[in-house]
Point group: C2
Chain length 408, copies 2
């Protein structure tokens, strides 16, 4: 095989760079000459923005630093491939850049949209008798790709969420019964509730955990929510509730779109853009007269490489290596999957799966992993998610903050 190229696409995760490391290591081990990185994904590739990863990763120090670097080292993009029937210019350009640089395989690390790109490129190659291979490497904090047991990126975000919630629960309880304090913690996940569900992992021997978890998979009933918190305040003074940013009411509107009594407008007369956490805190203050605040974990939860899960890092790297090995053995039009072969001890292996049954399919949290009250997670979820947050890769600190690898 000639040279290869690896790209990163979509929203970053704490471990998306570990997959780049895995691709690089496996390719070099197999004797591949040049391992290129696309700068800003397919969008940059169209302009032939590529770099030679040898420049950064030829020493073990480079690899170690890359695995501790947040966001996408190569830069990312949100580029939607046109359908071939709407014009083939983009396709032709991609193959042109590949051919010019003797690139025989393209590895694309991303979520749903990125797997669609892999599908379209591999379909195009097949239809036009092109030899180049296209392999997807799963990546998403949302954990919503089908077929694979879980997605690299989810475990680290889940570890950040569980750790931060443990800290916030302690912080919120600091005045004990002397002050009612309701804290709403808003967690990423517009459609799938995996990350909000990870709030359940805050509970352990020394932490009482959150008092309720609301997922986008379950219709959100505003009145029932207020009643639930009202009942909770009768039992205890300090309450922490995890909500997914994507929770929706019965008519399909996002909770953050609800306008309430006054019509939520921002300071400039536009519809309020703040999240459902702030809305729900305001609702509780208004309806119950309790002191309620909101914390939004925002992009911190996907960027916090300083507390990434070692299991996640290793699996992201393993997925990158598996992608290269798949391409070397002739596969194309596939995505690497993680298959859980054992729960105790936890063990995952890689495989590859036809990209056609993956692209554009979203996997939600199964209903039977949600408790009967509709706002808690079962032991099955705990058994699924706990292994994914295990282990740490201690940052390399320099002058008091973690050191990162950045493009020149």
């Amino acid at each position: 095989m000639g040279n290869i190229v690896v790209g990163q696409s979509g929203g970053p995760t704490a471990v998306i760079n570990s997959s780049v490391a895995g691709v690089y290591e496996a390719a070099k081990a197999a004797g591949v000459n040049k391992v290129y990185g696309m700068v800003f994904g397919i969008q940059g590739f169209l302009e032939e923005k590529i770099l030679d990863l040898d420049e950064y990763l030829s020493t073990q120090d480079g690899i170690e630093l890359l695995m501790r670097t947040p966001s996408a080292f190569l830069g990312s993009c949100r580029f939607k491939m046109p359908k071939p029937e709407d014009g083939t210019q983009v396709y032709e350009r991609i193959f042109e850049v590949m051919e010019k640089n003797d690139i025989d395989a393209l590895f694309y690390i991303g979520g749903n949209d990125s797997m669609d790109t892999v599908k379209m490129l591999s379909d195009y190659a097949a239809a036009h008798g092109k030899k180049q291979r296209f392999v997807g490497v799963p990546k998403t904090v949302d954990n919503d790709l089908p077929v694979t047991d879980h997605c690299p990126g989810f475990g680290s975000a889940a570890k950040y969420i569980a750790t931060s919630l443990k800290e916030l629960i302690r912080d919120n309880a600091v005045y004990g019964d002397y002050r009612t304090a309701v804290l709403i913690v808003e967690i990423m996940g517009r459609h799938a509730g995996w990350l909000a569900a990870a709030a359940a992992l805050a509970k352990d021997e020394t932490c009482e955990g959150v008092d309720a978890i609301y997922l986008p998979e379950i219709v959100f009933d505003v009145d029932a929510f207020v009643d639930k918190v009202d009942a909770l305040t009768k039992e205890k003074k300090t309450i922490v509730i995890a909500v997914s940013e994507g929770i929706k009411v019965a008519d399909g509107r996002f909770v953050c779109e609800l306008t309430g009594a006054g019509g939520a407008k921002d300071a400039f007369g536009h519809t309020q853009l703040s999240g459902c956490g702030v809305f729900l805190a305001q609702l509780l203050s208004s309806k119950l007269g309790v002191k309620a605040r909101a914390v939004e974990l925002s992009t911190l939860q996907r960027a916090a490489t300083h507390i990434a899960s070692l299991t996640d890092i290793e699996e992201a790297r393993m997925a990158g290596k598996a992608a290269v090995n798949a391409a070397l053995s002739g596969e194309t039009g596939v995505m690497v999957t993680l298959n859980r072969v054992s729960d105790n001890p936890y063990k995952c292996e890689t495989a590859v799966h036809d990209i056609h049954s993956i692209a554009n399919v979203e996997r939600n949290v199964p209903f039977n992993w949600v408790g009967e009250d509709g706002c808690s997670m079962t032991e099955e979820f705990e058994a699924y998610a706990r292994p994914l947050i295990m282990g740490e890769l201690v940052p390399i600190y320099e002058n008091g903050t973690p050191k990162h690898l950045v493009r020149k």
Copy 2:
């Protein structure tokens, strides 16, 4: 000396528990019999809510865990002491509980309000010929206590802020020049801008740092801010700006109180409670048509013990020890201070200072540490703050999250 009691007061920090550890260790080393902890500060003490710290800290494991535990292990309070002329019941009750438990010295870990409590209790003791001693231990993420070079708690919050900003800067730049992305990061500090200033520490060899920092000490000019960002967007596409929650316009109103064109109301018709970060992001979207988002570091920045500064932890512990040693040598009505005796290598020693010139005095960021543009920090600030974020105390992980010490 008989027994002693230690209490925690006001908002928690990542290292307020290390001062409890220091008090305990120094007292035990000096042969004090019982070291009691007030549960929920003076408010709990009035109800004789105390615990024997031997129960938790008699092993080194207990101390190690306590130093890695966020929030106030003993619980805290926001209790304002009445003036003695308005009635002495509270004072009498405090001395009653002390005498009943043979407590000869009270150590109070807190910020401005808590030092006021130390002052009032020591003044009362002096006026009434009471033998009990009262010593304050500084604690505040806001770093606004006078006399002391800095306050335990600040360094860890600053380390969290610098680390998180480095991660957010990388995250925000992920699409490079293909997308304009303005990120406003709102940082704690209602009156003093020390924490917002700590955003300057994100800048280093591999991080370009934030593009502007706005402190509450400098009058905020909304139009100049918009112009500044407008100019920045001409130079670069990805911009990160740190703002203190306490920034105020010329007429004295907080920026978060500005109502703009439409009148900022929440969904329930009440005045908008969201912070200045959201307001400024909305302002930029409205005035410049750029994509602007806000991240509020919220209570995460004071609760994140998992990335506390070791320097801060050690100094908090040292301050607790110094408080006990001061009381043993006869001091009362004083607060422990940290005196910087050397910059290179950084070295701090403890001393004590009359509480009367400390209580209710707030220290702001000096104007000459702010750059001429009014929105950057000088090298003097860097030299002051950088040593305070150095070092780490690796968490003790259990089942994937940091383990904490909690009251039974």
